[in-house]
Amino acid sequence: MLDMQTQAKTDALRKADARERRKKILFPVFGLVLLSFFAVLAASWGAASITTMDVVRSVLAKLFPFTGIKATPLADTIVWNLRLPRIAMASVAGAGFAVSGAAMQGIMRNPLVSPFTIGISSGAGFGASLAIVLGVGVFSGGQYLIIGNAFFFALLAAGLVYGVARFRGVTPETLILGGIALMYLFSASTSMLQYLASEQQLQGVVFWLFGSLASATWQSLAVVSLVFLLCCPLIVKYAWDLNALATGDEVALSLGINAARVRLVAMILASLITATIICFTGIIGFVCLVAPHITRMVIGSDHRFLIPFAAIVGALLLLAADTAGRTLFAPAELPVGIVTAYIGVPMFLYLLITRRRQYFQ
């Protein structure tokens, strides 16, 4: 009798567990379909009007030349030279932001942090300003001056924060406080440069700090994608350890996980992804903060599923923001950094207010 009861309970658990697991697979698949669908739509919206069918034809013609599908040269140019690199960049950048955000929140055990918390964005902003205003940089030369500088200073900021934290033990608290301190330092330095800049330089700095995907090219996309594809699987590989870290270092240690090493590796990977993206796009906030939260609400906080799905959610979010910024007031364009903040902040506040109990209880 007792055995039958236990058997019934086990069966119920098995069923509930299977249902949960199905959900964790189905949502990402659904998200991916939604993303591709939305990408095609986004390619057909914009200042120059082409139809959705033009886009589909142009994409199919290029990808499957043997089918004999033909597209107009105008549609080809708009789709392949202007819109697709930008759409792809929005997706990859959004995914990268979301993944690094989820990883940083995991290792810091804090739902309010992002890679920007450890000074990456302010470092990048300072590096870019340095190149724009004073024309000096760590990598000499031309078009790569701003990109190289932004990348270098972004990583420098992360490295400094980690170095400072090492004095007192690398805990979430030391990293976050060190990051905030450094953020102020770099922001002040950027302001100083803005103060010294000529009008034209100032415009350049401000535009860079807004963030924009307008200058996305296939080349920059290739670089960002490469770094993302190298780092993201490594973060996913550490998913279990991130789950354990969320419950505290002591518990992680007792489960056989080297908390300090996981924290360092995840931080390096997240910093690398973020720095690579923002050196090409400028500072685009909030995707890295909000995308992981939306994802958690849908499929829970097991990082094995959270990180891949967050990538899709981040891609959708940034693509939506960029498309809105590009099309709402076409031919004028709102910088994507502004639009993400307008979408991200209310969403974030909503989460903060309604989800408080679960996060901070």
Partner: protein, 264 residues
């Protein structure tokens, strides 16, 4: 599985938190660490599975020094239940307990591991809460979930840090009953830090009294739980009743501090 601790010291900077600790826990034994706040109970627990690294001394498990052990192997030998747990992100009870299988699984979790989790959830009376958020559970339920997580590690030794501190009377007994049941069934040794002397006496085979970083006395509850011990360790005058199955103390009042050497 027996644990042998020899001459263990732990310093935090210049402060000695543990000095010259020697103790053993034999197979299937339940040993409680008792003593005033700050005596070093939690620290001693954490030295067992190298969450903290002792400054000096050794901890051996069946003769093997834990310093030579891989982290993963240690995680299969020791299950640790912390005093307080924050779950930074909402995780279900199932996922919380599943984490205990970490030392055994790769990236994916095979069905055999899931079955172990199902069984433990049922044993700890948590199955109806499996998909609830851990943070939304009551104190007693949370404690049971954390113990379940440590037990699915299939440890040979269970380390419990104040397992009853946030619980009401009924849940204190319930949690400890669960522990004793499973522990006796599987022959797991238990080392727990606990404040409540009466609970300690009721559930432990042996008590180890710590005061000011040192062990001042150890033995069975009947041997050690005497007015003299309570006075020395806690500076409290107490009456000890022996009419139940185990000694029961009734604290009376605080007295002037007793010098340590008077115990011997």
């Amino acid at each position: 599985m027996s644990i042998q601790v020899d001459n263990l010291h732990f310093n935090y900077g210049k402060t000695t938190v543990l000095g010259d600790i020697t103790l053993q826990v034999t197979d299937g034994e339940i040993v409680s660490l008792v003593g005033p706040n700050g005596a070093g109970k939690s620290t001693l627990l954490k030295c067992m599975n190298r969450i903290l690294k002792p400054s000096r001394g050794t901890v051996r498990v069946d003769g093997q020094d834990i310093r030579a052990m891989e982290m993963k192997r240690m995680a299969r030998l020791f299950g640790y239940v912390p005093q307080t747990t924050i779950s930074a992100f909402p995780a279900t009870v199932f996922d919380t307990v599943l984490l205990g299988r970490r030392p055994y699984v790769g990236w994916t979790v095979g069905d055999e591991h899931r079955e172990i989790v199902y069984d433990m959830l049922i044993k700890m009376d948590l199955d109806h809460l499996a998909l609830r958020q851990f943070n939304a559970l009551s104190g007693g339920e949370q404690q049971r979930a954390l113990i379940a997580r440590a037990l699915v590690q299939e440890p040979r030794v269970l380390l419990l840090d104040e397992p009853t501190s946030n619980l009401d009377l009924k849940h204190q007994l319930e949690v400890l009953d669960h522990v004793v049941d499973i522990v006796k069934q599987k022959g797991v040794s238990v080392l727990m830090a606990i404040h409540d002397l009466n609970l300690a006496a009721q559930y432990s085979d042996r008590l180890v009294f710590l005061k000011k970083s040192r062990i001042v006395m150890s033995g069975t509850p009947a041997e050690t739980l005497l007015p003299r011990t309570i006075r020395t360790v806690y500076d409290v005058d107490a009456i000890v009743n022996h009419d139940a199955d185990h000694p029961h103390i009734v604290p009376r009042r605080v007295v002037k501090e007793t010098p340590l050497q008077m115990v011997k």
